[in-house]
Amino acid sequence: MADPLFENTGSESRPTVAFALVAIGLATMLYGSYVGLFVAPPEKFMGEVYRILFVHVPTAWNALLALTFAFASALMFLFKGDWRWDARLEAGIEFGVVLSFLLCCQGAIWAKPTWGVWWDWDPRLTTTAVLLAAFLGILALRKFVDDPVKRATWSSVATVIAYVDVPIVYFSVKWWNSLHQMQSNPNTVSPEFHLPLRMNAIGLLLLLIGLITLRTRIAKMRLREELAPPLPAPSAAVDYATGGGR
């Protein structure tokens, strides 16, 4: 049976759904950000500074989702050996890293006026930074290994090892130091804040799904080239054409 990686499906030749998801995601985020910036009232204690939560919290949720998707893809590749999961792993890690980096930047921007420092060693902030460093290391591993089989297996193993570390890092830093805002839930967040928060979270999720689909497509194309059997040498081709092969 042919490898599913080499099967060309209709959705792959025209990634209309992915582009549509990106467009809907961007539009939803635009509307959510408009409501968050101009319609939602100022927060009782933090004033205007709190508005960053409308992008910060959705970024946090989606960063964790992207890395969880990468972890699931790593497990699927290790168990099934299907190359499509390696392409998904690559996309998941890349977007997880981008979102984690944005999360650290947004956290620092929010921390300066709120806590008076750009960076504090609170569990969630530190765990995100460690997560970012760990997955950047895995991206470096993928760049430094040329053999696609080794690259896929090693990065899957490294992803599983790094993902298992996340709760341990969180609890170790929590015991070490704690300052972050207590975790919020719909009961602790004012109803006026629900709409922009949910719109941005859903918008970013749709954008993420669309971008992961497009990035997976690019990774699959590269894998097809890497895994394709080498073409016969030009001289041999001439020999076959003229019937003069050895």
Binding site: A140, W154, V157, V160, I161, F171, V173, W175
Partner: protein
């Protein structure tokens, strides 16, 4: 079990034959600890306060040198492929390597304790055996993932950069717990926190010694 014992014997023999390298790594660790003092300045109370952290940073930095050499001999002349052709489990190979690294790092950590005492003027009023126990637990946390990453890095490009890039973020809990446990042993533990930190590093060891043993076969066989 016989395979594991034979593999450990082979690893320990290799360690013994390359003992000059362990001495060089110790000198590197001691030099790093000397340099940390220059970062703080000649303030003896500040140096004493940060002594456990410097000890563990010295050991962590040295560990990258020790671990990166771990698969060097096997990758040269395709020795690893030869080992995999033997009727032995890759798991035995992994645990033998990890145990050899654990022994090497523990000896290195124990050898860095006198350096810490001398450079940072740490009063010896504590039980040396307990501190050595924490060093063994922390070294186990470094060697379990370090061995598997070393197997990957030894066959990749930029191997010297790759190993610390993969290992350092992962071992943050080990570093935190080991520094805190060493600090509590040296400075006293009035709040009874030592047990929590030792439990944390032990849990990390148990998780990663099991997980890395399970996945090592995939790393070397593919």
């Amino acid at each position: 079990m016989r395979q594991l014992v034979a593999a450990i014997r082979k690893e320990m023999l290799l360690q013994w034959r390359t003992r000059a390298q362990i001495a060089a790594i110790f000198i590197f660790g001691a030099t790093a600890m000397l340099l940390f003092s220059f970062a703080i300045g000649p303030n003896s109370s500040a140096l004493r306060l940060h002594a456990p952290g410097f000890l563990w940073l010295g050991l962590l930095l040295s560990s990258t040198l020790a671990l990166s050499e771990s698969f060097q001999l096997e990758t040269e002349q395709k020795g690893l492929e030869g080992l995999l052709l033997l009727p032995s489990s890759p798991r035995a190979l992994y645990y033998a390597k990890a145990i050899a690294n654990l022994v090497q790092l523990s000896i290195l950590g124990a050898a860095l304790i006198p350096v810490m005492i001398v450079l940072y003027d740490v009063a010896v009023t504590w039980n040396l055996l307990w501190v050595c126990g924490v060093i063994v637990l922390g070294s186990a946390g470094l060697s379990a993932p370090g061995t598997i990453y070393s197997a990957m890095a030894s066959q990749a490009r930029a191997k010297q950069t790759l190993l610390p890039l993969l290992l350092f973020p992962l071992v943050v809990p080990v570093l935190l717990a080991s520094v805190k446990a060493t600090s509590l042993l040296i400075e006293g533990d009035p709040m009874g926190q030592l047990r929590s930190w030792v439990t944390l590093v032990t849990s990390f060891d148990l998780i990663y010694w099991s997980l890395c043993g399970l996945v090592f076969g995939r790393v070397v066989e593919d």
